[in-house]
Symmetry: C2
């Protein structure tokens, strides 16, 4: 966006939020739901009515002026963040974040029901029905498992192999397109472009994705694309004919993230898929630095602590998330002041990662979420990993020849399994319940930890 566009964009975002709030608050929604309840509804129709009522009742708890102010302050804070981040300019950023946090607290107080904490009320936007306390219990166990696992992995003092070759951007994009197709991306219902940040947007018949390219490392483009393809296939599968009904949307952000992480990690970075990928990579780029499928598997699963969440490996990623989850709960509860955030961040990072944060852009200013008002979003990333762990275990149980399929570049059975159990149901129940029904047990950290142990402790 051009720099001078920022001011007007804030106004526009506010105007759209206000118009949207007006529509969601329409008192006739209650009447329509009541009338519908007098007729015979099947389970799916009931889910549509319930979801419509949920968003309506949530909207009417929020004063219209606050909805608009929040949208404007979020847009504004995000722009300030964008300008301030390159210089780690906390002095410019924190005062705006402080204003935004106060509005988010006000929003949470307006939204929360008797059973919800302030934070739960915000979390509900991204993971309907979830409770922070319950998530915290699972995260604690995940954290202790990951910390132990990381120690054992980092004790391995062998010099890791790395990519070394010539990876022309055009060839990387062509490979990403090919792999995207194998993983079920429908090219008639989307397109792939390059952008500063990988992303997926849209739904039904128009789900566009972006990726980015590192000319020295083909992982960036390939696995970023696979991640976005995971999100996109979910949205593409939701039937375009029904897409405007309230429950015909993704179940929750955690379930959404489970699809992208499953594609990217459990499937895309598997030893079996590396067996398919190795000859293709060599054919595409010539010498890559990987001299075998096993070496390729080692390279794409290198574990190394770092400051940036989006660059993190499977072991460190959830540690990044959990510290953000803890810090944002304190911020929302009023127990941590925005002014103290940088110090709190750096202290926690040193404790969790053993590294001194050099500057705010590698620390508390690295993510867009808080500046955009997305408090309550972070835990859904780790929930997504936990759900992906469950789905992966269930897939291996239901498809005993999964490795054979992956090493042949055949994803049809996996996609069909996901489509029936995850994609088509839409938003009929809380994300955790949907995963439980698909996998046969309430989701916990167990399968994810088991998968990580097997993958990282049996290598070489």
């Amino acid at each position: 966006m051009p720099t001078k566009g920022a001011a007007l964009r804030v106004e526009e975002v506010g105007a759209v939020a206000s118009a949207q709030h007006l529509l969601l608050c329409d008192p006739r929604i209650e009447d329509w739901a009541e009338a519908a309840a007098q007729t015979h509804l099947d389970a799916r129709q009931k889910a549509h009515v319930a979801e419509a009522l949920r968003t309506h009742r949530r909207a009417i708890r929020l004063p219209s002026a606050l909805a608009e102010t929040l949208a404007r302050q979020s847009a504004h804070t995000q722009m300030v963040w964008e300008a301030a981040r390159p210089d780690s300019d906390l002095a410019a950023f924190l005062p705006e974040l402080k204003k935004l946090l106060a509005l988010k607290q006000e929003e949470a107080d307006a939204l929360r029901t008797e059973e919800q904490t302030r934070y739960d009320a915000l979390l509900d936007d991204f993971e309907p029905g979830a409770k922070a306390e319950k998530i915290d219990q699972v995260f604690c166990k995940l954290r202790s498992g990951l910390v132990g696992l990381r120690r054992r992995i980092l004790d391995d003092t062998r010099v890791p192999v790395a990519f070394d070759g010539d990876f022309p951007p055009e060839a990387q994009l062509a490979l990403a397109r090919r792999v995207g197709g194998i993983f079920g991306y429908d090219w008639d219902a989307g397109r792939l472009d390059q952008a500063a940040h990988p992303s997926s947007s849209g739904t039904g018949g128009d789900v566009r994705i972006t990726t980015r390219i590192d000319a020295a490392d083909p992982q960036e483009c390939l696995f970023s694309t696979l991640h976005e393809v995971g999100h996109a296939v979910y949205e593409q599968t939701l039937d375009p004919e029904r897409r405007l009904l309230p429950a015909d949307v993704y179940a929750s952000m955690g379930v959404h993230e489970s699809q992208s992480r499953l594609f990217e990690n459990q499937l895309g970075r598997s030893r079996a898929f590396c067996a398919w990928l190795y000859p293709v990579l060599t054919e595409t780029f010539g010498a890559t630095g990987a001299r075998s499928a096993d070496e390729l598997f080692e390279i794409v699963n290198t574990v190394r602590p770092g400051f940036i969440r989006t660059d993190a490996d499977e072991i460190h990623y959830n540690l990044h998330i959990m510290m953000r989850f803890d810090l944002e709960r304190e911020l929302i509860a009023g127990a941590l002041d925005v002014g103290d955030l940088p110090d709190a961040w750096n202290a926690r990072f040193l404790a969790d990662f053993g590294l001194e944060v050099p500057d705010a852009k590698s620390g508390c200013m690295q993510d867009v979420h808080w500046s955009a008002g997305l408090f309550g979003y972070f835990p859904t990333y780790a929930l997504g990993n936990i759900y992906a762990g469950e789905l992966h275990a269930a897939l291996r149980r239901d498809l005993p020849d999964l490795d054979q399929q992956l090493s042949a570049g055949e994803l049809g059975a996996v996609l069909d399994w996901l489509k029936q159990r995850i994609h088509l149901p839409g938003r009929v129940k809380p994300g955790a319940d949907l995963i439980a029904e698909a996998c046969g047990q309430m989701p916990s950290e167990g399968p994810l930890l088991t998968y990580l142990e097997q993958k990282y402790l049996t290598r070489g």
Copy 2:
């Protein structure tokens, strides 16, 4: 857009139209206007109130269901057109156009005031306050002038010079950016990208433009860009701080088009600017086929009849417009059936251009406008040319050294003149009145014809 995205887009466009209509119909707008009228308002504030009331009263005449149906049918017809055009598939296109036309007639009947014809009611969307009958009178005189002029130009049997060289796309884009900057485009308030169709969109601090490149002919990219820069500079100049007030928008589509055509033709294709452009082109591309500034001027002002409006030269362009204006008035009045449109088009084209239309994609299916429901839009293109003729004559009067400035690549005085008289006033009066005030006389075809005669009959 991905092909499978079409269906959902129709729904979305309908939903947005419906939400917009709801806001525009808010009965409190009358109350607010009445309350404002009780206070002291300056002329500009009065213009804001008047424009708000105008759009409100227009909206309430339109039934909400019709507003939504129209938006959906327009979006749908446009998609059908896009798919059908490459094969000139009239059988697929015309039935949808027929449905859309019926809705437009219904809309016009709902909207028209006592002083307006059906067609006037639609025209009012693009050229507020204009009347088709008055436009028709001016067009008749323009038409007879153009037809005589064209005969005399085409009588010249010299073989025209043409571009002949190597024009790398990157260098064309760089040149377009440089020339765009000279013509006042603010690169901090916009960006230039390549696309299938040249366009300008947005307002205030975010006005983005697209262009397209013909590797064999640098005119396409350069003058398409200049055209869009003309639109964009108008939008960029409207003060971003005030951009959400009702009258702080462009005066009319005709005035908008006058800016793009003035930049593209009267200024960009002038002999004086060719004197600046010639050495720059040679420096950029080496040999271009033009051996002097005069030859460059000849090349960029070649007159040749053709089927496609957007490819037309300055002489033929308005003939294209006037036949569309006549045909669409007959369609809206119900005097011409959609089924008879192709024959009517082809007969008129033969009469006006002396050419047999080979297929519908070179004929009545070439433009997006009718398929998008934009009946009443076409005349604003020719009005834009007429306004540009007036502005150009006034600029030459007020800036006696204009040619010297153009040949030095200096547009500052021109831009300042336009800014004060055209850009900053916004929508305070009908487009024709704004031009009249800027130029000292009510706009007529005279100055445009005089300019064309001087340019095309004194060459060589």
